[in-house]
């Protein structure tokens, strides 16, 4: 299904990265190692959840995105974004004034991706009703879908096979504009992403077909741009852009936004480390009888997306208030487009597992490696200091059996080998430099490390 190297949104700025252990320690798939003083992401393991960005004390992680000047290349310039974008702004700014600011910035059409949400709800419900093995797991959060493909392959058949709201909304926007007489090459669809996972998903959708989005904009950047031009007074009526928007749509990306449609036979979990715990239990068949399981990688759902500027709890609060002003979905069916065509766009092919954590594709070799890991672990100190450049002793042992690290990378073993005259001081220094870079032993006021929150 995937060809060549996997696409990833998150990249490391090697100039900014000072080589610490924060990102490596928080990564839910142990995808990061420190080599020559900078973080290195293993593209096979990364799920683009963005937790590394959250904890980085020097903002060394970034994502490729497009600038607003890309808009000039198109006659019709569509802004696609999730409702959480609106929820970030302080109450002083009405949603109308935010829309107006977007028009000022050069967009000609504005779509909140949750507009055609009823189609999505119907499709999910159909699948839940027909499912043999329940609960079905939401495929809304791309980081979670990847996590399941890599770490929980036995649960892959429980994923709902449906496209994300942004895919649907992009198709919807295209259809409406084409009806207005626009040609495809004149239309520029810009997705304003709340997180790294969505960025990766938009660039390389599941099923690996071409993305229909023409540009990716970082929600953080756009927030700053909007704040430059926004006015508290509304001059233009933009409400027609929102006539398809509903209560159900606005809260979709918040905790329980999806699950609420399945009432008590559903559960919603947010935060990727919490999700891991639930998936572990689900593998043991140790969760209550449920129809639908909503899993979101960020705390407070997309309101906690790493590219949001506003506080996640305030964003949730504002969106819930906003949603009350809109009708619930059922009163507001989509009438102005070809519904069947959109429904076809919703479908995706079954998702394949990806065994990135297998030690070897040959089982006998894998078994040998496993036993070797156990033997190595007896030699390691077990304090998980990460000074070797791996997140913990276990990960280091696994790296060793894969030929990616050696015993003397452990600073404790190094010390022992020095005492036993098995290696020279020069060799030991070189080993440390391999992980932490050449000038790591020099004084440098810029390398102070981070502290816990509140200090």
């Amino acid at each position: 299904m995937e060809t060549g190297e996997k696409y990833h949104a998150i990249k490391v700025d090697t100039e900014k990265c000072m080589g610490c252990t924060h990102c490596m320690k928080t990564c839910p798939t142990e995808a990061i190692r420190i080599r020559e003083g900078v973080a290195n992401i293993n593209p096979d393991r990364c799920v683009d959840c963005g937790n590394c960005l959250r904890v980085c004390p020097v903002d060394a992680f970034y994502m490729d995105h497009d600038a607003l000047d890309q808009l000039q290349n198109y006659k019709y310039r569509v802004a696609l974004f999730s409702s959480v974008m609106i929820g970030q702004f302080p109450e002083a700014y009405s949603e109308g004034s935010i829309y107006e600011a977007l028009l000022k910035l050069g967009f000609t059409h504005i779509f909140e991706v949750e507009q055609p949400i009823q189609l999505l709800i119907d499709s999910i419900r159909e699948q839940v009703d027909a499912a043999e093995s329940k609960p079905l797991i939401s495929s809304f959060c791309p980081a979670i879908v990847r996590l399941i493909r890599y770490r929980y392959p036995s649960l892959i058949d429980n994923l709902v096979l449906v496209n994300a709201p942004h895919d649907l909304a992009a198709a919807y926007a295209l259809q409406l504009l084409t009806k207005e007489g626009a040609r495809r090459e004149e239309i520029g669809i810009f997705y304003i992403s709340p997180c790294s996972a969505k960025m990766a998903a938009v660039k390389r959708p599941l099923g690996e077909k071409e993305s229909i989005v023409d540009g990716l904009i970082n929600m953080n950047d756009l927030y700053s741009q909007i704040m430059k031009v926004i006015s508290k007074k509304e001059e233009q009526d933009t409400s027609c852009c929102r006539d398809q928007l509903t209560h159900d749509g606005i809260v979709w990306s918040l905790p329980r936004g999806e699950a609420r449609h399945f009432k008590r036979k559903s559960m919603a979990v947010d935060g990727i480390h919490n999700v891991v715990k639930i998936l572990e239990r689900m593998e043991n068949d140790d969760i209550p009888e449920l129809d639908f399981l909503e899993l979101k990688s960020c705390h407070q759902g997309c309101a906690g997306g790493i590219l949001l500027t506003g506080n996640r709890f305030l964003t949730v609060e504002r969106l819930q208030k906003r949603a009350k002003r809109y009708p619930v979905t059922k009163d507001c069916p989509i009438t102005n487009c070809n519904v069947q065509d959109l429904k076809d766009k919703l479908k995706i092919n079954p998702i394949q597992p990806d065994y990135v954590f297998a030690l070897d594709s040959d089982r006998m070799k894998a078994l040998e490696k496993l036993q070797k890991v156990e033997r190595i672990l007896c030699q390691l100190p077990g304090i998980d200091c990460a000074a070797c450049g791996a997140p913990n002793c276990h990960a280091l042992a696994e790296d060793m059996v894969q030929g990616k690290a050696k015993m003397s990378d452990c600073i404790f073993l190094q010390n022992r080998y020095l005492n036993e005259n098995k290696i020279t001081l020069a060799r030991a220094t070189k080993n440390l430099e391999k992980a932490w870079g050449k000038n790591r032993f020099d004084a440098d006021c810029n390398k102070r490390g981070g502290r816990n929150e509140g200090f």
Binding site: R151, P153, S154, I156, E280, R281, E283, N284, D285, D286, P353, Y355, F357, A358, L359, D360, S361, R363, M364, A366, L367, L370, Q371, E374
Partner: protein
């Protein structure tokens, strides 16, 4: 390879530790996910059995290239009537245990359902040994 775990009586918080560890190993061996799921469910049931019903015990898993063999031995009290205990819905669990969501009488039958071979031997007053095996 051999994996061993001590299982304490009454410690529900830790029930599931052995199955989690074994699950991780089987994933690293790239065993078919559907087979892993069966084994893990069986081991988890067996672990909970020891926690809920026994005075404590031990789990040993032997993994080779094409199968896993699990033996659970506890130090009492034993099962009075093994045949009865193998029936769905039969349970001797206390109210406290049932209130925690365990003790529905599905433990042993569920292990049998999820394993290729299974054997239970028990002596009242001495202890119980549950053995099962799954092919990869």
């Amino acid at each position: 390879m051999k994996m061993e775990f001590d299982i304490a009586s009454g410690d529900f918080k830790k029930a599931g530790r052995a199955s989690s560890q074994i699950k991780k190993v089987l994933k690293q061996l790239q065993v078919d996910p559907k087979i892993i799921k069966r084994i893990v469910v069986a081991i988890y049931e067996a672990e909970v059995n020891i926690v809920a019903h026994s005075f404590g015990g031990k789990l040993t898993a032997l993994i080779n290239g094409n199968s896993i063999e699990v033996t659970l031995t506890d130090c009492g009290p034993g099962i009075k009537d093994v045949e009865q205990a193998m029936q769905e819905g039969f349970s001797t669990a206390s109210k406290e245990v049932r209130d925690m969501g365990f003790g529905a009488g599905m433990g042993l039958p569920n292990i049998r359902k999820n394993t290729d071979e299974m054997n239970v031997t028990s002596e009242w007053g001495v202890g119980t040994t549950v053995w099962f095996r799954n092919q990869f």
